[in-house]
Structures are given as structure tokens and as C-alpha cells.
Amino acid sequence: MAVLEILTYPDERLKQASRPVENFDDELRAFLTDLEETMRAGPGGVGIAAPQVGRFERIVLVDCSVTRKSVPNHGFMVLINPEITEWEGMKVGREGCMSVPDYTGNVIRAERIKFTAFDGSGERHEYECEGFEARAVQHECDHLDGMLFLDRLVSRRNDLFRRKVYQKK
């Protein structure tokens, strides 16, 4: 068990694509334990991707059960070789990243997604999630393709009408 060092931009390695996991072995599972510990050590972190700690494999962890304001969630998810297959809706939300300290910005993400991923034993699962958790999954999966939320920033200004709720309470 160990808290791993987080790479921070401008480390160029964060901009590279990661390769799929091929061996679902004990070494992988030991890494998952360290990765989880690293995620939980970061203040307020609800997700982490393996390339953030310098392992360039398609591994993502997400846990939105621990947010300040509770949101719909699937608890702790180990997502290996995740593939997002469906996107629905769009929403602006604020994101930050352990690899980009001292900055948060607005990013548009799909509100609902469907995706598949393997767990630590190599078993394939299908997921559907929404809102904050869907945002976390999309943010982490971006890391696997060398994308940061900085690549998707939208203006802080003038999103009043884009965000408008079309139902009066």
C-alpha cells in the first residue's frame, strides 16, 4: 500500500494516450489498491486515472459516494479499458484536477452516459450513470487519451442562458 506521486501539468506525459490493460493479475490488483489510496489521499478527489500516477494503462477509479452534497452514484467503481458507448444531454459544470493544481474551470459534459469496463478480475460490466458521476467518468476517461479538462474549457462568462432551467419550480 502506498500513496503514489501525482504527475502535474506541464508534465508532457499527461498528454499521451494510454494502452489497454492485457493482464488481469495480482500485480494489477496491487496497483489498484495503491491507486485507490492515492485518490482518497487527494482533497475532495472523486476519481483518478492511472496516467496521473505515471502508469500509462487504461485504468480509472471513480467514487462519488463521498461528495459533500450527495449525488446519484454507483459507489466505488474500478473501470479498466472503459468504453463510453452512449452520450445524452449536455451540461456545463465546474471541474478541477489533481494534475492541474490551483485552477478550476467550466466544462461541458454529457449528462447521461452508458459505458462498459472490466473490473480487477477481468470481468466485463455495463454501466449507466448521470450528472456528477457521469462528469467524473468522462473526466477520467479523457486522461486515458491524453486529454485534460483544460482542453475542454468553456467561458466562465455568459453561460446564463445556456444553463437555463426550462421548468419553473
Binding site: 471513480v62 465546474r94 471541474e95 478541477g96 485552477y103 467524473a136 455568459n158
Partner: protein, 173 residues
Amino acid sequence: MKHWYMLTVVGRDRPGIVAHLSAALYDGGCNLGEASMIRLGGNFTIMLMVEFDGNKSALTHMVEPVAESLGLHLHVDRIEAKLHQHLEPDVRITVYGADRAGIVAHITGALAEAGLHILDMDTSVAGTEAKPIYIMQIEGHAAEGVEALQSALDAVAEQGVEAQLETIDTMIG
């Protein structure tokens, strides 16, 4: 010894202001920090953190010629400042309505009393000259919680403006 200065620059808007000004600062050995730059009412306005190895008058003398050539007013303050001092907003408030005197004072007064610390605010007057509308967007920190702000906002919204509050739930991944 390097110091931080706040440059305030205001003048009739035209293309190239930022490019010319920042080139002069760069050539003069300055390092730029955070900035807010926006066109307001046909003027271009700049608030810019500048780190400079020299005193206020040296910096003013350096920037003055380029400011004058662009028709800009320049003001320089030496400030106590540091980078990496961001406070994260946890609430966003948008207000709009028919423009009239007192909207900002009433709304921000009520919100300040309910614990709002404004971190970022911009306002526009849109619509037409005959029927202007006022639009205000605020991001801030709710020191006494979001409920207190919501009730303050509900009270002022009865005075004929549309007001919305939403929490900013920053996703850290």
C-alpha cells in the same frame, strides 16, 4: 528586488491594445500575473498584475509611451500580492430584469448580509436603449451556507427581478 504592481488601463476600444501593451511590458522585463480584461461601454479596460524589478515610477515611465500612443489612461499601484491565492466559489447567482437604479445595491446588500463573499462578478446592460435589461452574474463563497443566500435572494426577487442561485459542485478528478 521584484515587486507586484497592479496596472489599470482604460481607453477607447480598438484592436491591438493587449498585444501592444504586453509587448512593451515583456520588452521591459516584466512578468505578467493574473488579469481581467474586458470591453465595457465601448472602452477597453485592463486590470493586470505585473511583476517588475524596479519602482513604481520606472514602471510608469516604461508603459506611459505605449499607453499614450493607444490613447489609454494608465494607473499603477504597488500591491501586496501572490499568485496561487485562488478561492474556490461554491455558489453562482444570476439576476436579470428591467434595468433600474438600485438593482446592484439592493441585491448585493442583501446577499452580503446573508454571508456572500463575491469572488467574480460581471454585469451587462442589454436589450435596447428604450427598454434596457440588466444582467448580473456572480460567483462567490457562501460563508453562512446556501440556504441563507437563497432566502435573501427570494426576498429581493419579489421586487421584480428574476434571480437564480445554484451551487457550484466542483468535480475534482
